[in-house]
Amino acid sequence: VNHARLVVAVGVAVAVAVGAARPASAGTPAECVDYSPLGFCIEWGTPGTEGPGTPGGSGGGDEPTCYWVNLDYVPSDSTIFVDYGIEPPPEGVDVVWQALECSDGTIGDDMRWIIPPGPRDIAEGVRGRIVGTLPGPTVASSPADGVPAIVGMPVFVQVTNWTGVVTMQECAGFCVTVTAVPSLTFNPGEVDAPPVACAGPGTAYLPDGPPAEEQALADGACSYTYRLRTRVPGRPPAWSGSVSVTWAITWSATTGATGALTPVTRSADLPRAVEEVQTVVSGGHRP
């Protein structure tokens, strides 16, 4: 029996996200943060360039995000129970039928019915949809990426594809609003260097502004001044810096219920060679 591809009602209630493989940061092993009951990863926690099933990868990948999405009808063809291997719902029990839909436009070949979800279940699904839209950070820095920094001179970092606060709402009798608030962290990578908590999307160096040292001291400045040069014995060619955006995710329902969900972090590597400039004073008075 060939079933016509299932028509999915987007915009009704969205349920639990089931597939969200995210890229793994180059050189950074990805870690799965959510699994399906069958043990398959449905969300990778570290972004980057290598993907699941990608040689050399460590999980993650630029894969579509898939979600359980409510159907706007009850499947009436009884062969669905045989073809999909689904038990008929109990008599007299209200259930919600769902099918798998992915962000690349495909509709999966998985179906299920569930007891109607509560607000947290709906929030989890909405979170999944949001996660699928959160990009890895695109970083602009001064000096530019690949240009060595100078000992004692601040480096400035800014994310150019800053999402700002992301909000999404779904309603199913009641409404659930999920909010993702981003925060930026700059890890310079230098030995003993603490992570820098940056304000907003970071800091762009202003050539016509105050001295760089002064700009770096501004409250929330996304800046770090390297102290140790690289490319000397015992140190790497470059400090393995990185930039991470973490979205804290919360939800609230019109029923009054609220809660927090698993945060999402996207990172980009920002290695930095550091050089030292030695000043030679010439023409001075010789005592």
């Binding site: 029996v1 060939n2 079933h3 089931v18 597939g19 493989a21 092993p29 870690e31 799965c32 943060v33 959510d34 699994y35 399906s36 009951p37 069958l38 043990g39 398959f40 990863c41 449905i42 990778w44 993907g51 699941p52 099933g53 990608t54 040689p55 050399g56 990868g57 460590s58 999980g59 990948g61 894969e63 579509p64 898939c66 062969t79 669905i80 129970f81 045989v82 073809d83 999909y84 291997g85 689904i86 038990e87 719902p89 109990p90 798998l100 992915c102 690349d104 495909t106 999966g108 070949d109 998985d110 179906m111 299920r112 019915w113 569930i114 007891i115």
Partner: protein, 227 residues
Amino acid sequence: MRRGLLAVIAVVLLVGACSGDDASDPTTSSSASSTSPVEPTTTSTSTTPATSVDPTTTASSAPSTSQPTTTPATRTPAAIETVLQGLLGRYDEAVTTILTDPRVTSDSASPAVTAYLALFAPDSTFAQGALTSWAQDAAEGRSYRPGPSGSMINSTLMDVTVASDTEAAFTVCAANSMQVIDAAGNVIESSGGVTFVNATAVQVDGEWLLRDLSQSSGDCPEPGTDT
């Protein structure tokens, strides 16, 4: 569904068989050659990665529990397919055992846990993460049992890309049929269908082991196409 699956794979095989070698391509891709159960065997092969698959070679869905996957010189796609399908068969068994009673995950020495971990590279954070997820099921009183198809998961190897002597990416179509049972014994969910999976295997000390498996979107035979 099985007949439809075989038809699809046969078409894929024909395409694969007609494709020529590409010496400039460092990777080697092939399609699984069969879904019929054949015991995986220890295979001796040449040291040069092959670039095509013998369509007469049968891969395995390996229903047995402890087939060897040690393949000292397994490098050709066909040989790797046999090993990977064997791994998938053992994966299905291990996962089914755990899902039936997720409480077994509380004992790291339980046969179910050790059988599952043995499928992955040593100290796999991926496998540990999955066990943690099942432990959460147990904590919430949730367990699983097969749906009408009779088996919770039945994985079929679809395609293999050999990246090196020690690493291969592959895709899987996992037919699934299950019911979710709450702590009171009520059925609270029933799901089924076919799940597309991207996966990676690595060779450690001559043994092919799983590194990760990710649910994704891709082409699998449509449920019910064989009826």
